[in-house]
Symmetry: D2
Subunit: 296 residues, 4 copies
């Protein structure tokens, strides 16, 4: 019928239009050949200098975060992470301190001049987050929470977007496109391990994703060595691999006393382990940080 033909033409033209968009995703290297450099509280990401983000899984108290923050500061690092809203498998697990946690992060960020990063889990909290944190994290479970992505895309604040538990690289890139297409191009992508049959590690770190994301997009790429491995003994070797393959950021969890952590106690480093971790990264010659460069 004529109607069917018109519908087919309409659909075809719609698809053509979508195709055009896809060929020229705003996050793609084809659209922008030079690297996006995200500046956070005066510190750059994506310009070849490699950064370390550290901090506890959950914000539990001022003292707990402060102890970690001072260790971060002592290492000459700038980025402090901490979870205030915790997406947990069970509704009966510790769900985070919420806004109280954001306040603790802000206070310590101000006191020590650190940039603070925390996960936001619902569009309604994006506006509120702007007052407290320097980087909005969107977690693996929310990578395809498109309303959240759109909300994060409509504010002027850097976003750290984590890859979904079993997201393909293509889906990951398209999730970033939801943010940039709403106006916010300050995006960092974070590989955090994918779900596979192998249970020796919590997830399987897809290290190849780093060069692929660097090639396909112009965005900085982070590797979360804590969630990808889920094992304290693998943080250092996987961090080395991440630096060697060209990640812009290594992200790791540090807690003053992991044994009493309210979440992820098996995989966080204590302060001493963190200092050893940083020493070893520097000794390896793999870590291209500004301190070292300027020292030479």
């Amino acid at each position: 019928t004529l109607q069917h033909i018109f519908k087919e033409i309409f659909k075809a033209s719609l698809e053509l239009q979508e195709d055009d968009h896809r060929k020229a995703l705003l996050v793609s290297r084809k659209k922008q050949s030079e690297n996006t450099i995200v500046t956070i509280k005066g510190e750059t990401v994506g310009d070849g200098i490699q950064r370390v983000i550290a901090g506890p899984c959950s914000v539990e108290s001022y003292d707990q975060v402060n102890e970690v923050a001072k260790a971060i500061k002592k290492q000459g690092l700038k980025f402090l992470r901490g979870g205030a809203y915790k997406p947990r498998t069970s509704p009966y697990d510790f769900q985070g301190l919420g806004e109280e946690g954001l306040k603790i992060l802000k206070q310590i960020g101000d006191e020590l001049d650190l940039a603070v990063i925390s996960e936001i889990v619902t569009p309604n909290d994006i506006e509120k987050a702007l007052d407290y944190i320097d980087v909005i994290q969107i977690g693996a479970r929310n990578m395809q929470n498109f309303e959240l992505l759109k909300a994060a895309g409509s504010v002027n604040k850097p976003v750290l977007l984590k890859r979904g538990l079993s997201a393909t690289i293509e889906e990951f890139i398209n999730a970033a496109e939801y943010i940039i297409s709403n106006g916010n191009g300050q995006i960092m992508l974070c590989e955090r391990g994918i779900r596979t049959y192998e249970k020796a590690t919590r997830n399987t770190l897809d290290i190849s994703a780093v060069p692929i994301l660097k090639k396909e997009t112009h965005l900085p790429v982070a590797v979360d060595v804590t969630h990808s491995t889920g094992r304290r003994d693998l943080l250092l070797p996987t961090a080395k691999a991440a630096l060697a393959i060209g990640a812009d950021i290594v992200m790791a969890e540090v807690h003053p006393d992991p044994a009493v952590a309210l979440s992820d106690s098996a995989q966080q480093m204590d302060i001493e382990q963190f200092e050893h971790f940083m020493d070893e990264l520097r000794a390896s010659g793999l870590y291209k940080d500004v301190t070292k460069s300027s020292a030479v």
Copy 2:
């Protein structure tokens, strides 16, 4: 130190409490041995009678939905599905008609006395949805969008919860617990295929999940044969398997003209194929529907 010991005791007692909750999840058979029966516009689900939910992937127009709705009515079925808010991988793909789509569903539901089911993707829309639809669907990508689960748990409306793309059965059950623990026990679980290495089908239908979910929980269990297989030629055989293994609901997509559908055109049945599908299900002797029972 003493402080460390106190923290350990605090954490241990917190864990004990969580443990208690876990052992007695509200959705578990241990907590409630008899089946939960969900009543939707006078039709029951979960009492041993098997139901079919059908409808287009996306609501595109009144005429399109109406044509499918009449076919459903003709089969003596009660449940019409249709997507108004479409979570799509790319921001440039058709995103659904939004509230306009819900209005079309409501109008047709009223006209033909059908119960309508549609996906809600953000907590803010839950209240609005109450005016239009009879069942709130929570999609695979939002299975661990915990704020959405909590919002759905705080209203008095049946919820169809789909399993996440790579969610374990344990995570799936815990996602349902987020809903019930907020007060809403009218939950139906929907197996819709999991992500595996095999690409002959869009996802891999985890048929064993049905008896496991029926054993572990007291909730009705649906099988979405469309999204699990992604292949029109597999809808009928997998629907038979779903009925044989004891699913309460079979869910399948029907479009008046799949070739011009704005989403999922490769996997939807047209009206004629749908009639054949229903005829074959009835002829197989597997489909325990009320019509048949009363006929005998």
Copy 3:
């Protein structure tokens, strides 16, 4: 260079030839539209009548197998399985009785007029197996042991080929092609679950593989409900799903005393459970066996 061009032409012609073969795989429906019917000791498989294969995981003794065999006989069944060569993850696990096991199977097969099925794990044992067993099983770990496939293809004996742990359907079909292209077309394909991230079951039963294999090839298709689920409580529901979706064979493990079984003790049925299993399959109306047909 000219040499390069010649090599490219040579390679292209080689690929064209391979392409031709692929388009017309000997196992494909395109090559042979009617079903292959395999006849084993007078019993047919693949002609629409559904069969049950049962027996212990491992052959442990004459008495053990005999007890199961008598239960099988009592059910009017014909097929007895039992492992003589056991591929085990650890070299220190029980490796099977070897040829001694084959002898026990043969003796019992002769005494009770049952067809016996056993796995062969190395090309050198194929010839020997001909004297003892009625069906050569090739296990999941050997699905791409191409030398074994070729050896099995060069004898005149039915072969039950199991899908590899993470084999695609395409690889599975090609493995069968290795057998048929060596001259032996008496092949039965067996879906036995694939390896996924989900650990609620030992493997994930890919039930959709059954209609795909029936459509793509002309070979009989079996479902091994024991290895796919690894759970005794799921044997009956998955067997029903397998029968409903059109499997030619259901395969399940039975042991007189599973608690003392030398392998797979958690997933085998005892004799009483097996009788209940068969009763329920018959009561379900799903099981199209000859006895029932002739009885009607």
Copy 4:
């Protein structure tokens, strides 16, 4: 019954014995704390010096292998790989030159004083291989071909064992145990990517497996960057990651003219690309080879 009790005791004692073996696997670090050093034609592997193995996917002709071998020699490398027996998905794909291929490898190995590595696919060929090659490779599809493992374990020749397509690390370690428990401890383990849902790469390189295998066993560990990624553009970055994380060996495929290669043409480097690959590895400062050390 008494018999049942005796059987349970027998089984329990059997399991205890197996347990003992498992706790002290011969390949485990618990059994031997120092690294196993495998010496091949005078070159060591496992002593901290990192090695590169290169060569074509398939042996196609004397000239083809010779051209690659000379490039390897020019780089000061010692190890030449090449497939003579090719396990291929389809029986109609090029299956390798067989013994003819082994002869070519031997001749070139002799002429250029290179150690040659080739895959053996059936127990019957192990003895023959001893005359031609310096390292027996056991491929991914044969990782649980236990008869082949036993045969490789009973000769005095180094073995390179590849991880199965979807083998767990535990299964991989146990496969090595099959070899060592038959008397041959000259084993190198090779991570070559695992099968996951992600299709941007041929397989997913499980980089974390390297430190786990180094920790759990005393064996040298290789990373095959070609088969894990299946992409020429990822060979260099993944090789860097492998060196940084502590792999003893990097393995990559090189072909004089990949476009006309009879297998894997999309992922092999040509000579020029290989030279660039080696230059970049050396320039990265990651590659701990003996030449460099002695030069300093």
